[in-house]
Amino acid sequence: MEPLTWTGAVGAFLNPIFAIIVGLFVIALIVQLVLGLFAPAMTLQANPDGTLAGRGGALGATETAGKYLFLAVIALILVYVIAPLILPYGMVGIIGEMSQRFLPVWIALIVTFTLSIIYRRKLGLYGKLFDSTVGMIGFGIVMFWVFTAVFVGLFDWIATHDYLTQVSGLKNKTPGVPVPEGTVGDIPHYLLGGDNLARDIFSRVVSGSTFVIAIAPLATIFAFMVGITLGLPAGYYGGLLDTVLSFLANLILAFPVILLFYLLVTPEIVQTGIPSYMAAFLFVFPLVFFGVLLNSRYYTQPAKRTAILVPVLGILGWLYLSIINQKGTVIDFLPAWMDLFDITILVVFVSVVFVNAPTVFRIVRGLTLDLRTRDYVAAAQTRGEGAWYIMLWEILPNARGPLIVDFCLRIGYTTILLGTLGFFGLGLSSESPDWGSTINEGRKLLLIFVHPALPPAVALLSLVLGLNLLADGLREESLKD
């Protein structure tokens, strides 16, 4: 087998065109930026006949040029993405084959976007997201990784080789290297080359997405549960409770994160069982949250309350016990048939929740301090509603805007934290395909071989960037209300 080049036979005549158009686009962008500093902003001028005309001048002209060049760039990128679906294997090189592998993701993205844009007026804040370009781009990137993680994790679709199999002779080989005859795999090449243990980098990066997509949102949800359950009463009641909780939150926040990780995420600490106790403490908050939430809502209808509360708490309690119950640790009392799953990286999960919770607490507390002086709270108090009802059903829904935005940002931050843990080799096995560990593996030979470290770095960057853009779009749209 011949090694693949980046863009293959098609690229030979497409690449120069692409380079020229991208060059022109960049020039237009820079000109626009420079002009934007000096030239007056584009204004609208009313004509005598009642119509409006844009008075753009040079800035307007570059803007139009920039727009068309941008469309041309997009069109060419689409050619690179779509052409390999029609052309035979290897014609569009590595880029083409990667696009081919991501075919299920492209289809899922197109379906999601079409449906969302059609029904966007009926979908509330989520639908409004599709009015903002930034938000759409962010959402697109995030969903790209979500779909990748789902397809890799559930159906084993996108990865080309097993991410742990080492193929002799492919150690540190550059992208597009052919694998020896008889190697198990969907295609006869390592698309992004081999790493220092001769494993397929492309498969490792897409497999790594499952780790991040599974852990980061879940850990963030737990952190929010803890932060909300403690932050609401701290802000609402104030006084001693607030002082004590704020002091504790500041205490954790004053720790440099890496020091905390180095102290918490070590085999010795796992041996003492501290992470298990912390898990038992932190993960009880969702139970408390949902219990109080439902209880305060249906307090006046005891029959209905019991009917709802018992199954909800039962299921959550079972999940809670299964999470904290782990074989070989201090908390190991459930019989095996009741233990639904074992999380091998409980310590990573716990420490990420632990680091995030105080910041959420501070945000919720601040919002509550602001919102508790509102009229609707006073009205609820006059009606004689309970304190928890006011906190959870009056204040919390009204604080949702900033909280949703912060939720997106915090998933990104959690992704960075998980990457940091991997980068220092803390808590994760060295074979784990997560992006932080892969970057750490790759950086050791970075000055000689660049290709193992870059793909996971770019993947992590794109996911976090997508989440930040999504948060920005959401903030913009929620401010418009």
């Binding site: 720790f255 440099p256 020091l259 940091t420 870059l454 960057l461 960037l465 989440l467 920005d472």
Partner: protein, 351 residues
């Protein structure tokens, strides 16, 4: 004002005591001590030997007592061991027990002895802090002016094209953690992977920068840390600038006919920089994270590198020393930011 500072100082000391106690507790947990005994004594020690080794060296005392001794508020132990040798916490090797002082802890300036570097913790921390100080200073010199300029330019005309482009840039930099931007920058600027350099412009390691920092070997680590913090400060500056630009007195100045550059420089800038000041001070703890990552990535043997070494090799005394310094850096910057905010903001100062 005086009362405010005093109260903040009180809270700070309480926080410092709690934090150091937590670190002390975590580093002195059973398995850590067992590992210490096995690395210092003999890797094949029996369990009884480990226990007696720890007992002879005062590690088996109750935790509060050990913490008090380490802090220097309780007299150091003098233990006659099971091996008939008397050891005292405060006796330096070769010194008779009777001559040793009774108190020796952090407060007396005795930071202990590093098992990895075979040196006094205080001297290690001091030299490494110096190196990291150099790095931090360079980072601040790049980051703060850069971030403020970006933020002010973006915030002076909200919603303009400049604003949108610069805001996108700051979002991108905040989304790039140091271990990602460092890897990308090294690949692009310190190897021939992307650009066929005649001579490679930058070095991918900063080991040489410890003695002799120059543009070639110091630029990449500095810019890597600066980029991550820059976006955040720039966004805060932008927010505060846009707020100021909509204020009444700016409108008055515009109506009076003051030119736009003059409004920005004379009227808006000073008020817009109050909020970023706090943010810059609160960035220190984040910079500390960045320093640890970048020093590991670029092999610059400063404070962050020592933290990794101490934690990775179970060097308890050194890790404690490093923790104290970093906790104090964080707390003091918080204090300065609180006081500075009150001091800079006339509305709070007068009330």
């Amino acid at each position: 004002m005086g009362l405010f500072i005093l109260r903040r100082l009180g809270v700070m000391i309480l926080t410092a005591l709690c934090l150091t106690f937590i670190v002390f507790w975590l580093t002195n947990l059973g398995p850590n001590l067992e590992k210490l005994a096995k690395t210092q004594g003999n890797a094949r020690m029996s369990d009884e030997a480990v226990v007696s080794w720890l007992e002879n060296r005062g590690y088996s005392q109750p935790l509060p007592v050990k913490y008090g001794q380490w802090l220097g508020v309780l007299p150091g132990y003098v233990i006659e061991g099971t091996d008939r040798e008397t050891r005292a916490r405060c006796a330096t090797p070769g010194q008779p027990i009777e001559e040793a002082s009774s108190f020796c802890g952090i407060l007396q300036g005795d930071w202990g002895f590093s098992t990895v570097f075979k040196d006094e913790v205080s001297s290690i921390v001091a030299t490494r802090l110096g190196l990291t100080g150099k790095l931090m200073l360079a980072v601040m010199l790049v980051m703060v002016p850069g971030a403020l300029i970006i933020g002010v330019l973006a915030g002076m005309r909200e919603g303009s094209r400049t604003d949108r482009s610069l805001s996108t840039v700051s979002i991108i930099t905040t989304a790039t953690p140091e271990y990602v931007s460092g890897v990308i920058l090294i690949a692009a600027l310190a190897t021939k992977a992307f650009i066929e350099w005649d001579t490679i412009p930058f070095k991918g390691t900063a080991t040489a920068a410890m003695d002799d920092a120059n543009f070639e070997n110091f630029f990449l680590p500095v810019i890597t840390i600066a980029l991550y913090g820059m976006g955040y400060i720039a966004r805060m500056t932008r927010a505060s600038m846009t707020e100021v630009m909509t204020a009444q007195y700016i409108r008055t100045a515009r109506l009076k006919g003051v030119s736009f550059p003059k409004i920005v420089l004379k009227h808006a800038l000073r008020n817009a920089l109050i909020a970023p000041f706090t943010v810059i001070m609160l960035q220190f703890p984040w910079l500390l994270n960045g320093v640890v990552i970048v020093e590991t990535l670029f092999n610059y043997k400063g404070f962050g590198w020592v933290l990794v070494q101490a934690a990775g090799n179970n060097d308890i005394e050194l890790l404690l020393g490093v923790s104290i310094v970093s906790v104090f850096v964080v707390l003091i910057t918080q204090l300065i930011s609180d006081i500075g905010y009150v001091f800079l903001n006339p509305r709070i100062r007068i009330s």
